[in-house]
Each structure stands twice: as structure tokens, then as C-alpha cells.
Symmetry: C2
Subunit: 186 residues, 2 copies
DNA sequence: CCCCCATGTAAGCAGTTGCTTACATCCGAC
DNA sequence: GTCGGATGTAAGCAACTGCTTACATGGGGG
């Protein structure tokens, strides 16, 4: 009884619950029992379908960011990521960055995934400039996005936390364009 | 035998070990046994002198923040803070920032860092511009500095983590000057 | 119809965690 | 000296963790 026998729905429920809890509490403070309860699923199924808590975390990160990266052409990536980060009610679970920030891992598969994500964002941003140090410039822009997320959601720093999205986005894109502009011929 | 009977030294050893480990691993991934071992102290003493792991964490943060004081002339503040954030090893006073970032819950800890960030840095940075939204601009610059620290020390993101300090500082100051410049009369 | 396996469940295992307890031992006050 | 509290030690407890196992069950293919 109880659950409909539907593996796909069960997996999805687990992934949703994990996404929410990892984003809100971080990896360590989220237990597999919490995830299973929120999903309304027996916790043994979590291991059947995802293998381990680490693997589930990795799956959460990759699926989340794939969507964002694929939906945004490079020239709009900065703005899109920024706006997502600046949403009125910061739905923490919405952005994998929050899960990453609240879970600092120096071992395990999750660390690898985090590295890959950073590379993907940086590569996309680096394509916006033809400067010699494009990669470094991209890292700096990425750092800015991360820092804004940290101050807003983890520290609640005012006035940034309560600032108007458009205003913030305008200031950041203006300043970041100094780093990401193409050199004009002539 | 073993330890000299010196409560003050024991407390100090525990506090030092806790400071180091909380900063490196965060609250959750640091165990009281780790702290006691690093301090060379029986773990029962940790509870005798600090009450609980939570209380020890709070003590670490408050103790450190009292040490955090840096006076730089406002015009050089950005550069000084930047260079400091780009140092190879984070300073002792920088640890509360990372300790909090690596520790997912602890609201009081977040309050502490927020207050420091606001009063120490943001106010000074805000004095660098006369724009209406000086505070917001200062927060954004501060967010950048924090983000750079996160990518370097927590994520080890390359090429940023291994980049030349001066080069990074040059790029950041150039882009940040867009936000912090004074409006020219006429 | 029946069999079989994908799906779901209940229970528990081994390791770790924060914290406590019961007990030695030292040292200063008297 | 000796008494008592401050200091240090060893052991263990109860709860929680990720994960596994042994077992029900239902539905689709033969």
C-alpha cells in the first residue's frame, strides 16, 4: 500500500526534498531520514535509487546547474545568474550555490562536482572577453556573484540584502563589463 | 601526571585548537574529540570549561572578533583589505568569516560577522564615494572581496587561487572604481 | 493463472557524536 | 600533616548517523 508503485515519481520526490533541504541546511545538517520523510518515501529507497547521500548531493548539484547553464546563452549568463540570486524571496533551494556554500567539503564526490560547476560557469563567463587573462577575469566575476549571495543570504547584510534587484544588477553588470569587455579593434 | 595542572593554559589550548579547527572545517565537521586531541587535553575538560560545543564555538567567535581591528586610511582601505584577503594563509582574524561560512546554522554567529562587516569595512568603503547609494555600492565591493576569499580559500578555484596578488588587485580596483568614484563637478 | 521482479517496508547494525559520570591526583589553606 | 576543592583521566551512555538486509506485495508478461 502507501506509496503508488512508481519509481520515477519516487526518485523525483527524493530529489526535490534533497534539493530543498541541502539548500536550506547544508549537507551535514541534512539527514537521509529528513529527506525521506519530506519526500514521503522509505529511506531505503534513497540508497536504492541514488547509492549514497554523497551521490544524491552530487546529483542535486549537477541537475540544478545544468538547467541554468543550458537556458542561458553566455552573453546573458551573468545577468540571469545575478537576477536569480537576487530574487525577492530568496528561495534558497533554487540555486545550487546555496547548497554548495552551506556544505564545504574537501573530500567526497561532491567536491568534484563543485569543481566542475565552477569550471563551467567560469568557462562561459570567460568566453565574453578576449583578454589574455580571460580565465582570471571570469573567476573574479564568479567570485562577485558568490560574494553577493553570501552577504545576502548567509549574513543578511543591509542594505544589500534588501536592495532592489534591478539596481544591483545594473551596478554589477556595469562594473563587471570593465573586466569582460571585448577589445575594440582600432 | 601528563598535563601540568594549569586551568588557564588548558582553556587556552582548547580555545586555540577550536579556533583552528572550526575555521578549517566548520562547526559540524569538527568533533570535540578532534579539538581535545589537538589541544592535548582530555575531552571532558572541554565541557568542564566551556559547557558545550556550541558555547565553545560562540566563545571562539567572540574572542576573535575582539581582535579584529584594522585602521587604514580610507583611500587605501580597498587595496589593503584586498591584499590581505589575497594573502596565502588566512589570518587569525579572518577565521570567523570562514568559520561561519563553513558552519551552516548558528544565527548569532551570522549576526556577529554581519555587524563586523558593516561597521568595519562597509562604512569605510562607503566613504569613498558620494553617490546616493554609497552604502549599497560599498556592500557590493565588500561582497566581491568576500567572494574572492571564498573562491580562493574554500574552493581553491584556479586560476584565481594561484593568481598573482598584484594582478588581481589591479583588476579589482579598476572595476570597483566604477562603483566608488566620486562624481566630478562640472 | 502464476511467476517474477520491480517496488516498497521494517528493522537493525556498526560507527560516531556530544556529553556525563565515577574516579584518581595534585596543591594550597589551615 | 591533612583536608578539600580544583584539576586531570578513563570509561561509557544514549542518541543519531549512513547504510544494509530480510522480507512483503503488487502488477505485468508468459
Amino acid at each position: 500500500m502507501s506509496r503508488p508503485r512508481d519509481a520515477a515519481a519516487t526518485k523525483a520526490a527524493l530529489l526535490d526534498a534533497a534539493t530543498k533541504l541541502f539548500g536550506e541546511r547544508g549537507f551535514d545538517r541534512t539527514t537521509v531520514r529528513d529527506i525521506a520523510n519530506l519526500a514521503g518515501v522509505n529511506q531505503a529507497l534513497l540508497f536504492r535509487y541514488f547509492g549514497s547521500k554523497d551521490a544524491l548531493f552530487a546529483t542535486v548539484l549537477t541537475t540544478q546547474s545544468r538547467e541554468l547553464l543550458e537556458d542561458s546563452p553566455a552573453e546573458h549568463l551573468l545577468r540571469n545568474v545575478l537576477l536569480r540570486m537576487l530574487e525577492e524571496k530568496p528561495r534558497r533551494e533554487d540555486h545550487p550555490l546555496y547548497a554548495v556554500l552551506r556544505s564545504s567539503h574537501h573530500d567526497s564526490a561532491a567536491d568534484l562536482v563543485r569543481r566542475q560547476l565552477g569550471e563551467e560557469y567560469a568557462r562561459a563567463l570567460a568566453s565574453l572577453t578576449d583578454a589574455d587573462d580571460a580565465q582570471l577575469r571570469a573567476d573574479l566575476v564568479l567570485a562577485w556573484i558568490v560574494g553577493i549571495g553570501v552577504l545576502r543570504t548567509m549574513f543578511g547584510k543591509e542594505p544589500l540584502a534588501g536592495a532592489d534587484r534591478a539596481e544591483v544588477a545594473a551596478l554589477v553588470t556595469k562594473a563587471a563589463s570593465v573586466l569582460l569587455e571585448h577589445t575594440e579593434p582600432g
